[in-house]
């Protein structure tokens, strides 16, 4: 506990526990905000630099960082805040780690911004902060800077979290759609559509025989294994909003080639497929939070699949064809066009 706190508490008639919900003054730069920071954020995140409470965190770059800086940001607005397999907090941390990992970066530092709605129970915020801190710690990321704002009841939605991440890309690692060539193979590290269907099922009160659990998790170690096994990996991307279809569209356009999927090869768990069928959704468009699409040269296919683990599959190939087009070979041997959707089928999935 920060030794400066006691002096303040002595003259403070209103400790954190007497406020069961967030009030506007918790974002006001005064004593209530100081209490929130001290008792909740600094206690959980337990980072020396964060606890110094400077305007900006001043940090060393690791000595092996001959490489480049990786920088990413994501706003998280998922509803509900807690869902099978995770919460807004894990989503925020893992999402940022995964964005860094997809550029080949080792994750280092995390910043966290909270936009809280007046009336949010402090116990809910405390649970989110605890999970955020745990997820960051598990990945070896330090939470080094943060901010909290409070908006009036009816002008927010409980809690929004924006995370930014800094990582380092080691010298020699180079990934990008411009490296993709016809003949390259498209891999996925496991069954798709779980995050979106997990959130949807709890939101809509749907019950399935076996509950669908979000795949929300950090992928940096998996990426590390892949890049060691296949240093000439062309491209990595995690298929979140818009699902696998949106990622493949983006990469097909950026690479200026066509992508041909083998529909029968795309792994989808039975319960996800069943839920999608009931609701008329296509798993290709449903969000994932612990999956990655890797594009590797054909000769690296088997080493890449080994590195990505037993659930990984080859789901397609890159070919000349039409620039930016994505097609799928159906189980009947015909090809269907996979269009880019107008928007996610489900809002506020991440």
């Amino acid at each position: 506990m920060n030794p400066t706190y006691d002096a303040n508490a002595a003259s403070c008639p209103l400790p954190l526990r007497d406020y069961p919900t967030i009030v506007l003054a918790h974002g006001g730069g005064g004593r209530l905000m100081a209490e929130l920071i001290e008792h909740l954020f600094l206690a959980e995140f337990a980072d020396e630099t964060l606890s110094a409470k400077t305007d900006a965190a001043v940090l060393p770059l690791p000595t092996h960082a001959k490489g480049r800086l990786a920088l990413t940001t994501d706003c998280h607005v998922v509803r509900p805040l807690f869902f099978p397999g995770g919460s807004l907090a894990e989503l925020a941390v893992h999402g940022t780690i995964n964005d860094l990992a997809m550029s080949g970066a080792q994750p280092l530092y995390l910043t966290v911004g909270f936009i809280l709605e007046e009336g949010l129970p402090i116990a809910v915020l405390a649970e989110l902060v605890r999970r955020l801190a745990q997820a960051a710690r598990q990945a070896g990321m330090r939470v080094v800077a943060g901010d909290t704002k409070v908006v009036e009841r009816g002008h927010g939605d409980g809690c929004f979290i924006t995370t930014s991440g800094v990582g380092v890309v080691a010298a020699g690692i180079d990934l990008g759609p411009q490296l993709i060539r016809p003949g390259d193979v498209v891999l996925v590290n496991g069954p798709i559509g779980e995050h979106g269907m997990a959130v949807l099922s709890v939101r809509e009160g749907l019950e399935f025989e076996s509950p669908i659990v979000s795949d929300c998790r950090a992928l940096h170690l998996e990426v590390d294994r892949l890049l060691r096994a296949v240093p000439n990996t062309r491209f990595l991307r995690d298929p979140t909003r818009g699902g696998v279809a949106a990622v493949l569209h983006e990469v097909a356009q950026a690479a200026r080639w066509e992508i041909a999927l083998d529909e029968a090869a795309i792994p989808v768990r039975a319960e996800v497929r069943a839920a999608c069928e009931i609701l008329g959704l296509d798993p290709l468009y449903v969000a994932n939070e612990g999956k990655l699409i890797a594009i590797v040269p054909p000769e690296a296919e088997s080493s890449a699949l080994t590195a990505l683990g037993p659930q990984a599959r080859r789901i397609g190939v890159v070919r000349a064809g039409s620039v930016g087009r994505v097609v799928a070979r159906t189980p009947f041997g015909t090809e269907r066009l996979i269009p880019l959707p107008l928007g996610e089928q489900l809002p506020r999935i991440c």
Copy 2:
């Protein structure tokens, strides 16, 4: 314009201009989001790395960066979005630059996260993005990563912006409350309370003879001048939420000394003082967005004031006294305690 866009547009019946307001699908990872990114964000921010649309921006560190990394984040929820002297956009950019500058860092890279409410006019978003891009460009900062989420009508408030900033602190620059010693002088670079009163006056429909304009601006060049003139500057902080009073409390506690202000020396413009008197507010607690508090050794006072410009004033001194206490000598020669407020007098000021 990105050459990959045309292919998409050819098969797209719904260009951006046909949607006068933000809809949920603009945050959905599909075609509408791609259009928003292409036409609005990439066009305005015009950054090669951003335009590559990778999950994380991969960036060089400047070769003179023998020093350390500075990292900061801030959520911005000001209401209304536009006010005399600025908007949410300038606030977001200048706020982040100033947080970096207060740690002695040179600002380099900016990330921007938008949380948009369904129904926000696209013209409003476009104006905010234009101002964001301009403010960043003026300060030589590159916008290198971003994210957009859309929440349902009634679950947000038009637009929230979270910015994170990365800078580099040159070797040899060291600032912090632990360096402060009794006898050090407390300086401010100009009149206080303008941002808070500008926002309040437009929000409450108050009219004063001369309108109060926010002091919102970037301070990195001013800090650079100060650190060159006074390399042994002890401490810098911009008095935003909670005003000068909150900053002095924080530094007095962190430094473990007392701060004594000279009330008559604190610069406040006549119109701000008048507005504060009418509304029963104390300018010491009102937010600023273009002011800094500098604490320097006594022998550096005049060089520091010169570096900070003609509006800068010495407003107090550090002394032994009670740890963490802030007092002000009134014009009558007595001393009054300056307490830490419970919260900002005005919510959603930044």
